[in-house]
Amino acid sequence: MDKTIQVIINDIKETVTENTTISQLIIRYKEGDADLIVEHNGRFVYPRKYEEIILSHDDRIEFINPNFGG
């Protein structure tokens, strides 16, 4: 069985498998908005880095849907 870690996503504790990337997390949580804004441990993540960043235990992730209405 895969090892798991705990991370906090939008203030809610979640369990994910080790070596999960931000890209995989986006798919898992169905954050399908192509223009999603992601914050990782208080730092903004460039979209092109989503596949590179591997989550660690206790990491904090914020998914923010952009507002494009005017």
């Binding site: 192509a34 804004i37 730092r43 460039y46 979209p47 092109r48 507002n67 494009f68 209405g69 005017g70």
Partner: protein, 273 residues
């Protein structure tokens, strides 16, 4: 007496023929702006700086109606307002420049009237046009600040390209239902819109909107524009302010420039700043 004229490019311009020297404040102006001039960080100096300012407002919907109103009222010297739409009944729950009798009129025409009535000392250039890649540079012209009051990512990207190319501060605002967000992009100093949203797939969709939310965001955008005119340092730079009206949650997200951004990253590498 002043005069209003329609130009060939469908622009309505009001020219106040007794317009004072740009570096002077008339006695009327001193009275009109008294309540802000008394603010120590503002003063007569700030009022004169506002008078010299030339601000572009892209879009006259929920956000643009509010920022245009506050910027005209504050005494910005020139406002260039651009929108392609006509006033619709469904706009009136939030777009405070328009009345029921304006339904069917071009927004630029109605906005021009209201803003001119509010402050005839502010020169209003109102142009009914769609902002596109091929005309954004020309529309923005010699404006010092771009206030984004559009309703889609594509148009915002057109504005952002001009902001980066011409190094003009770009105040992004957006709303969706109970939530809204705002940040000030300053080329060379902050990321640009493209650093945040490199994808271009977002389709334009009509989102839910009620007055107080674009009211808050548009007011913050106009405050940012005023602060830029006054040369104030503490702008919403590198910070995305997100407001959730549902629970009154406010979050400040730290933004960073993407060194590989195909727009501002390339500019940096070429040493254009």
């Amino acid at each position: 007496m002043g005069e209003s004229r329609q130009t060939r490019s469908n622009t309505i311009v009001f020219c106040e023929s007794h317009f004072m020297e740009i570096d002077q404040l008339s006695s009327q102006e001193v009275i009109r702006y008294k309540r802000q001039i008394v603010i120590p960080a503002f003063g007569e100096k700030g009022q004169k700086q506002l008078k010299r300012a030339n601000v572009f407002i892209a879009g006259l919907g929920g956000l643009g109606a509010v920022s245009a109103y506050y910027l005209a009222a504050a005494g910005v010297g020139r406002l260039k307002i651009v929108d392609k739409d006509h006033v619709e009944l469904e706009n009136l729950n939030r777009q405070i420049l328009y009345s029921t009798r304006d339904v069917g009129r071009p927004k630029t025409e109605s906005a021009f009237e209201k803003l001119h009535a509010l402050n005839p000392l502010c020169r209003i250039d109102a142009q009914k046009a769609e902002i596109r890649k091929d005309n954004a540079l020309e529309l923005i012209g010699d404006c010092h600040i771009i206030v984004d009051a559009t309703d889609n990512l594509e148009t915002r990207k057109c504005l952002n390209s001009v902001s980066v190319a011409r190094q003009i501060p770009f105040i992004y605002g957006g709303i969706d239902g109970f939530t809204g967000m705002v940040t000030t992009f300053v080329p060379g100093d902050t990321p640009c819109l493209e650093c945040l949203f490199p994808e271009t797939s977002a389709a334009t969709k009509k989102v839910g909107a009620m007055g107080p939310v674009p009211g808050m965001i548009g007011a913050i955008q106009s405050l940012e524009a005023i602060k830029i005119c006054l040369g104030m340092k503490d702008l919403l730079k590198n910070t995305l302010l997100c407001i959730n009206g549902m629970d009154m949650g406010v979050k400040k997200l730290n933004l960073r420039k993407d060194p590989e951004c195909h727009l501002c990253g390339i500019q940096d590498q070429c040493g254009k700043y």
